[in-house]
Symmetry: D3
Subunit: 166 residues, 6 copies
């Protein structure tokens, strides 16, 4: 049987796969996460964001800095001098915050893990900032939304999956 | 109005709250996360785990090391010399991996963020290890399960929440 | 002659001084720095701070996170699980931003270096955020303002020094 | 009005600017800082430097290692695999140490922040090494001296500024 | 006399040598280390490795992650976004574990230090995992085995050295 | 059979052992390593150390800073705010450098790994500094020399071992 996990060699040993022969191409990845909270918490975060003490700005910076630490956090991830990170927030209903991170690089490997790490750390930071008032927040549906560049080409998260994992 | 976010002062400035006057007590926190994947992926992970190339062991180590980096990742989190971390994995159905992390410390602040960071990094590592065969995995329901010690006392995630956020 | 530098032993070898016999006491330190800029830059930072895109909030978080990295940056500094960090900003005239950081710990060594590192990193972040519009900003008068706790007792920066180093 | 801060998008959200389309060119930056101290402290540092226990060599290494951590310290700074760092020290009078750091890279963004971080961490290390004998040292005039490469071309700190900020 | 240490300039100041003019070429390095232990310890590690609780897999991940931290650990080492790391283990007799790490990059400097750091951290991790049962383990013969690419060309550890340092 | 590896639980899962119930006691550990080199290299290092460009001082600082990073490098090691580190160098013959590191803490776990990490990183730094003139250096006999404090009491490396592993 063919070894399905590229991060293991044929004996099952973990490794950082040699990407020396891969092409340097422009690559990008977008990931998302949801933070579910009480509507009172959502209201406070939104209100604060309009005046002083912006939970989302703290989370955004944590997410950007988290993206830069990806290869330090994920054991077999390649270090990559990433070229850009943007993080957006949107309340999709009165108690759901959606976080979207988009990461770019010109390199030999993709930046999916950087984008996923960015939304995860941003979501954890929202939890930390608001946990004194809402310990029951949950982080949901961390997933890859889109990926461009590299041999595997374009990936777009399907509606199907949305339904299946809902 | 009373400032609801302890991480901001009254002018809205972020801060690392002074915990100097808090008691040093034994504290623990347990958090969980789910990784949803194709049943083929789950089968491969489970099979590998029984022979060689253990995805879950890599994820476990990443989660433990991630717990140690919490205060480096979450901007206003206090650095804490944690006393113990354990991470468990369980397949709750043919395509759902449940990750449970439990962290302990004797200190002035709780370790919720350490436990939540541990499950998040472990889940991201599972994604990284298996992404070549299943790019549509999602990470779900990262939440605090239980918290012991400190002034706020015992917290146990309720069944209600489960239903509400399901 | 008595060795004046505690960070060197009698042969001149650098060392992290053993503080095992020192008392654990409540300690705090406050440091300050000035960032000098064009008045147009100061106006933009102040205006932005009142609407969106808050340079100072980014600098504040960088300073707090920097304080946590002090022992990683300063070779012979002891690692300390600090208890609290606060950073304040004030424009003292139309082109001078004053940064004040205050750090607390209960421990065997003081937190001067943490406070000084916090204001330095915050000031560097202001430079980074505004450098595209004002490359000639300078960072001035990074100094210890006050120090409490520990054997050396209370230190308060004197007016004399102000005059001498002005 | 045009957004003056490139680190914010038009809504005021912070971001790591995408530099993917910028040219890879040879870039360098030089920054400087002054450490003001009592003349007795300066004498001790200079004397030690000639025999054993070299404060400046410790500061030099801290500055070089600090330059490598720049993107970890400054939230919106791009990670850059820098090509070279040199740090020089000079006593400009009997109580003033001048620190000069020069950083080189071939990359898509400049290395001003790396050079400024290098002199800042070196200066903080001098403070740490000598603080037991001179708590009133100050760090002054951290500034960019020169910058080469990239679209914005050659920057050289002017005499004018010297006078204005003196 | 010519300065023999490239990491010092002619005045004896340490520096990160400017490699901006060096060619970007494919480079690789292999290093090795031995861990000497009681034969009972070796038996336990080998047995465990065949069932559950794999000391060597933990050491392998630590070595790979350690390789990524090389420029953070070795003061004058250049940061390098490495392309691949593999670590192998072999018991050469009933109480000697041999660790072999191979690192690859396309870059301006070699990866000897990354390979040497990888085997060192892997060996230290074996010690940590087994120290409760065998505190007298030693780490031996950490050395560069082979180096390819760059101006200095091919290096292969000689048999001579083996004999001399045995 | 009793589980011999405390870093694994009974199912073979790795963990950071909970040390919450252990006593806080004064603990210290001393470790050593040898660096074997050509006698010309040893002469250059010794000569330089007496004038300018001190290889050993760079290695010393790297070792001290490495000790502070131990829990970041060794996956299941507890983070410890260590109280003191000293590193000594001695040439035991015309081509052998002996490195000795001694680490102290008041805490719930020992500091063997900190002392062993300190000598390892110091030795790797000597290699890095001198590799351009002597690529065949080897690092030998990294071992624990002595350990004080904690439940396991006093450990002193025996002469026996010396003979056996020689």
């Amino acid at each position: 049987m063919v070894n399905p996990f590229t991060h293991f060699d044929d004996t099952g040993a973990s490794r950082m796969v040699d990407v020396g022969d891969k092409m340097e191409t422009a690559r990008s990845a977008t990931a998302s996460a949801l933070v579910r909270m009480k509507s009172e918490t959502a209201t406070l975060i939104r209100t604060k964001a309009l005046s002083k003490g912006d939970v989302l700005e703290v989370a955004r910076l944590a997410g950007i800095m988290g993206a830069k630490k990806t290869s330090d956090l994920i054991p077999l991830c390649h270090p990559l001098p990433i070229h850009g990170v943007e993080i957006q927030f949107e309340f999709t209903d009165d108690r759901t915050l959606r976080i979207l991170a988009s990461v770019k690089v010109t390199g030999k490997t993709g930046v999916e893990m950087e984008a996923l790490t960015a939304v995860s750390i941003a979501a954890l930071t929202v939890y930390d900032m608001a946990k004194a008032i809402d310990r029951e927040m949950t982080i949901e549906k961390i997933r890859l939304e889109e990926k461009l560049g590299g041999k595997s080409g374009h990936f777009q998260a399907g509606e199907d999956r949305e339904r299946t994992t809902g």
